[in-house]
Amino acid sequence: MNKKTDVLTLTWILIAFCIVNIFFLVTGKLGFDAKGLGIITAVALTLAMYSFLYKDNPVFKIAENLFVGVAMGYWIIITWFNILKPDVYEQLIVPLFKDTGNAPQYTVIIPTILGVFMLLRFSNKLSWLSRWSFAFVVGLGAGITIPNFIHAFILKQLTFDSLIAASLPDSINNFLILLGVVSVLIYFFFSLEHKGVIGGVSKIGVWFLMIAFGASFGFTVMARMSLLIGRIQFLIRDWLGIIQ
């Protein structure tokens, strides 16, 4: 019985959606062109996604899988036009067959071969070649990380303002910052048992962490609500035209 009600509800919603859009197209509120049909498509997908809030349903699943496919297709094409075409095809292959005024960049062969090796990950016999590519990229990443992280995220972050500042509130704040950083670092140092003085300091660290996580939660709520506000603005402004 429930399934029948669900199918009926879905059918009525689809009919209502079609009627509304036909009305908009006929009255000229939405143009019968790429832009107008685009808005209708976008609204259909938006509402299909939101249908999940009522219940998981086929319309949501279709929209979700369609989105995943389109996103992957987009990524592939953008990679071709932005990376593989200008950096490999036009620098190495085109100059070999056409006079472009530039000599072929033969050094591009090395990263191209390593890139192809990376794809051999899925081959049963040759997957070991992909390890060379991953080793290159991972080793490169590890090497550049060490000095840059030490400089930017440790040395620069260990500079504290003076505890004797221009005003008392500033001094208190600077002290609290120092206390917070040290206590949080001690909390995360699990090689020492959190007992006695260490336990007391790490407890202070926990309080600082709880305040930080509360702030993060507040900001996360703000972020998600902002996304929702944006979508509702789209629906009532660009589709229904109720607000400007």
Binding site: Y50, A135, F136, Q157, G205, F217, R224, L228, R231
Partner: protein
């Protein structure tokens, strides 16, 4: 064969890691050229990674269709969506893919009217679930949880215009929470995470950490 499968990758990782770590401290022009070339190569290699993601996705959904698992029909939409986008992309408004990317094509239409709304909506659904969780599960059971919730409430109200209307000191208190205790805790986490990242990098360079090789060692 073990030499090619195991030893050479470890040697490559070691050489690249040591070279790039020391390069940072060498201001010579040759060192800068090396950095430029190596990072250039890294960008090109990383460009091929999209095909790994694509293969994984398509392989997963193809298996679902092949084995006719429950819900296999939805997987056809993945191929439909990807196929139509790739075809439009390669068609490139009639210029085809060997020419520069054209503007205002069907490929762009798919992006703005399928990917953008669907992607934007997908994450906005979380707004509803956050509100539901706030009502049903966020409980001040312990003193730590109470501190967390109080901080969250102050920041949530202090960061929106209505906060100043409720109590004039809410925004400054929220700002203080962000600039002092939040900043201190986040700095502690940042330093800790950075030390961890440096330690992991050293382990990779010296061959102790080998997970990136992909197993079957």
């Amino acid at each position: 064969m073990n030499f090619f499968k195991r030893t050479i990758p470890l040697i490559i990782a070691f050489i690249m890691g040591i070279m790039m770590a020391f390069q940072y401290y060498v201001p010579h022009e040759a060192s800068q050229s090396l950095l430029k070339v190596v990072t250039r190569w890294g960008i090109t290699i990383a460009g091929f990674a999209v095909f790994i993601g694509a293969y994984s996705l398509f392989h997963l959904h193809w298996n679902k269709i092949k084995r006719k698992v429950p819900g296999w029909g939805y997987s056809t939409f993945v191929f439909f969506g990807a196929g139509i986008t790739i075809i439009f992309g390669l068609y490139n408004g009639g210029e085809f893919f060997l020419h520069d990317k054209q503007e205002g094509t069907m490929f762009d239409w798919m992006y703005f009217n399928v990917q953008v709304p669907a992607g934007a909506t997908m994450f906005s659904i979380l707004a509803f679930f956050m509100a539901s969780a706030a009502y049903r599960t966020f409980r001040a059971r312990t003193s730590e949880a109470t501190i967390l919730l109080i901080a969250a409430v102050i920041v949530m109200l202090g960061r929106v215009p209505v906060g100043a209307l409720i109590w004039e000191y809410l925004p400054p208190i929220a700002d203080w929470i962000m600039s002092v205790p939040n900043m201190a805790a986040k700095r502690g986490i940042l330093i800790g995470v950075s030390i961890g990242a440096i330690a992991t990098s050293l382990r990779i360079i010296f061959g102790i950490e080998r997970a990136y090789l992909g197993g079957g060692d």
